[in-house]
Symmetry: C2
Subunit: 477 residues, 2 copies
């Protein structure tokens, strides 16, 4: 029995493949340096032997592991490994691999090979790859499916990307109501293979209307004569194809589901969602949102060309510069004041910085509350009151610390008081913005995590400079 | 059959309970306003009836849903609902509820009730609550367990919190090698109930050494006379109790596992990990890390008292202020220069801001690479080269934009050139810091997501001011 710590095994595979690739590179250089007419047969054979080894190594890997290996390799090595990947594995690897890497692999694969890779995939994997492979190839593969799968694919494609229908599978085990446990079990034994992640069988009536579900483990242990109705649960978590996949993610996490039914508007079972797809969608969306929060649009291949990587960061930098220019013009309006009291220039970044930080704390709480669905009713009002009070308390406390700092450095009590007032007010501004900005983005149907921080920093920077320099002009000059 | 969209049901339950709580509050006020000797019997009965309804509503909820309801209610309402929660549900709810809310609930529950809540929990739930309920209560409950569970609890507690052993369950179905499929199935039918999330049975020898695993679905469909050895897979994902739980999370996601074996150093099966616990740990750690990234230490109850909430944010604000003070002193060193050219004060925040933004983009990529285990070998060197090139490219481009802005506003080419040079250099500094800081934090055994951003902003702010003002003093004054 082979029980390996999975990551040790995986790193060992990557090291193996890297070693084979290095050997390959050495052999390549060597063969090219020699005059081709004198090319040694032995070296040529070594070269071939090396590729055979590489091929064998790839064949033994789980598709997810092979995807990992491909993502971890520079572009040339990646192309070589891909060319040595057995045809049967290419489809599953395309499903598993990161978006940015998939695009390149698809570009590098001849059309015929791509067709061979897509043909054996099951319907939901094929649905997943729609829009990620050339449309004509996808269409020709999907048209070759049987009528049921074609209908499934057509209906799935008609639904939005973030709907349950888009991630469901038509492959679901059912039993007819009215059977005994023994008869249901006998039917199961004589039917086709049970799909992966089948923890429960769905009980349906003659028109395929969902009646309940029975755990496979319960069916196995039940007395053969017992009617399945007495074993089944009728309190089910189920979804409509048009339900939001985010809602399914929360339900799977909350109730530890392995599978859940998908029913049409008449209550007929049309498929199921399984936890592996849900987990994958949740992971991908968390990953995307973490990158987007830093202003990286979508996926970035670790080995992308420099210009692509640089360009990936432009929209965010442009937006950031725009807000920085505006904040800078706010300061520009007070240049006269700064000339009279240069200490203002030294102290103003502190006011802006502490505002940005407290505002981002509020944003983190609001975004988390939205993700956990903590504001079903009027909690935002409660939240706003609380954040304002926290801001006032922290403003008084840390405003005093900052004011004291100014007092000590510049020996000016009025300057200290202006500093205290500016910090206090900017924290209040930050609290309001920290609550309002993400909630507004959400109401506009956008990801609140994505733009909230840049808008907030814009508000706290500009207002921080304005409050501090404005108060200074009023009271110090 | 009840197939509800889960969140609709949940929101309906919360609305129901809120309505009952409001009725309760109205009745309370009414009863108190009246002279107690004239208190109407009818109202008293209504009051009682209301509580009975609340009790019934709570009883019908899934523990995870009840935890959600408790988290969504202000403190007084929460205490009332908790008092009406059936004793049998209190244990599971304590397992599900957020840390900050659990602490309050534990404080408010009489010791006897808490004992009753803990006693029926299974061993891994009890292990999970260690350190989260008063130690003497926990000890007295664990000492009442049978010898096997006591050993399990003792061994689990001896392992670090972030190890597989800490989240494993001793509750695992095995079959002895050498049996036929029919005999194994018969044994399964006569044994105790099959634990939840059992997708596979583990095959062990006489000394409980793990030999392989067999899918429940395959066992059900197998011919009765076939030996189980021919059905089982011997290529298993398995863990040692001391393995890092992060590694288990990645393996569960990569291979879509429902359960995995845990074996001791001699290969003996000692338990299993299931996906529900793995999912919960992954979710909690992602949640914690999102909050910590904004400097919120640990969990914050939405309805915590203001002072607690304010205090939760102090360490981060203190750290932030410290770095802001240092950056401010950098500017302070150039006050003479600023007095001569006040435009510098206006422009310097732009240099600092764009450095912070590009650095945070790099950090997001590095942290993601670490989370996806993308740097098993020497990728950081590759990454550093790439980030430096991207920074140089972006520095030249956006530095020119910024320089042009300065040129247009202040009609000074030298000022524009200084601006360009400062932005270019600060982006290079940001790229280096963006790669080095998270990798160093990781090497020090800390969460790279937590402190990276504050250190980076400190570097890019201070260096941004220093580079810009320093170059200005050298070339403009």
């Amino acid at each position: 029995v082979q029980i390996g710590r999975p990551e040790e095994k995986l790193h060992a595979s990557l090291a193996d493949i890297t070693r084979l690739l290095q050997k390959h590179a050495v052999l390549e250089t060597f063969t090219h340096r020699q005059d081709s007419s004198r090319r040694d047969l032995l070296e040529h054979l070594q070269h071939q032997q090396n590729l055979v080894e590489l091929h064998a190594r790839c064949r033994s890997l789980h598709p997810a592991d092979l995807a990992y290996v491909l993502e971890s390799l520079p572009r040339d090595d990646r192309a070589l490994v891909w060319s040595q990947t057995p045809a049967a594995l290419k489809g599953p690897v395309l499903v598993e691999v990161a978006d940015a890497v998939r695009d390149r692999l698809v570009d590098e694969t001849p059309r015929g090979e791509l067709l061979d890779a897509l043909r054996p995939l099951d319907a939901e994997d094929l649905a997943y790859l729609e829009g990620k492979v050339p449309p004509d190839l996808w269409n020709s593969v999907s048209r070759a499916r049987d009528a049921g799968e074609q209908t499934f694919l057509r209906e799935t494609m008609a639904l939005p990307d973030d709907s349950v229908g888009h991630v469901m599978s038509p492959d679901v085990k059912t039993v007819r109501e009215g059977l005994s446990a023994g008869a249901a079990l006998a039917e199961l034994r004589s039917s086709e293979a049970i799909p992966a992640h089948t923890d429960q069988l769905f009980v349906v009536d003659g028109r395929r209307v969902l009646r309940g579900a029975i755990r496979l483990a319960d069916l196995v242990r039940a007395d053969a004569t017992v009617p399945i109705e007495s074993l089944m649960t009728t309190n089910l978590v189920g979804f409509a194809p048009s339900d939001a996949v985010d809602e399914a993610i929360r339900a799977f996490e909350r109730y530890d589901l392995i599978s859940a039914a998908v029913v049409d508007e008449r209550g007929r079972l049309i498929g199921r969602v399984t936890f592996d797809v849900i987990l994958e969608v949740a992971r991908a969306s968390a990953d995307r949102s973490a990158l987007e929060r830093a202003g990286l649009s979508g996926d970035e291949d670790l080995f992308a060309p420099i210009l692509d990587s640089a360009r990936n960061r432009w929209p965010w930098l442009a937006l950031n510069l725009l807000t920085a220019f505006v904040a800078s013009r706010v300061i520009g309006a007070f240049e006269g004041t700064i000339t009279q009291l240069v200490a203002l220039a030294t102290l103003m970044p502190i006011v802006a910085s502490i505002g940005g930080n407290t505002g981002n704390q509020t944003i983190a709480l609001v975004i988390r509350g939205l993700a956990l669905d903590q504001f079903p009713h009027d909690a935002p009002r409660h939240l706003m009151r609380k954040e304002l009070l926290v801001a006032a308390l922290n403003g008084a406390l840390w405003g005093s610390v900052v004011g004291l700092f100014a007092l000590i450095i510049y020996r000016s009590a009025p300057l200290g008081l202006v500093m205290l007032a500016a910090v206090f007010l900017n924290l209040v501004v930050a609290a309001v913005a920290g609550v309002v900005v993400p909630l507004t983005l959400r109401r506009l149907g956008r990801d609140p995590a994505q733009g909230a921080s840049v808008v907030l920093t814009f508000v706290t920077d500009s207002m921080g400079f304005l409050l501090f320099l404005g108060l200074a002009r009023l009271f110090l000059i």
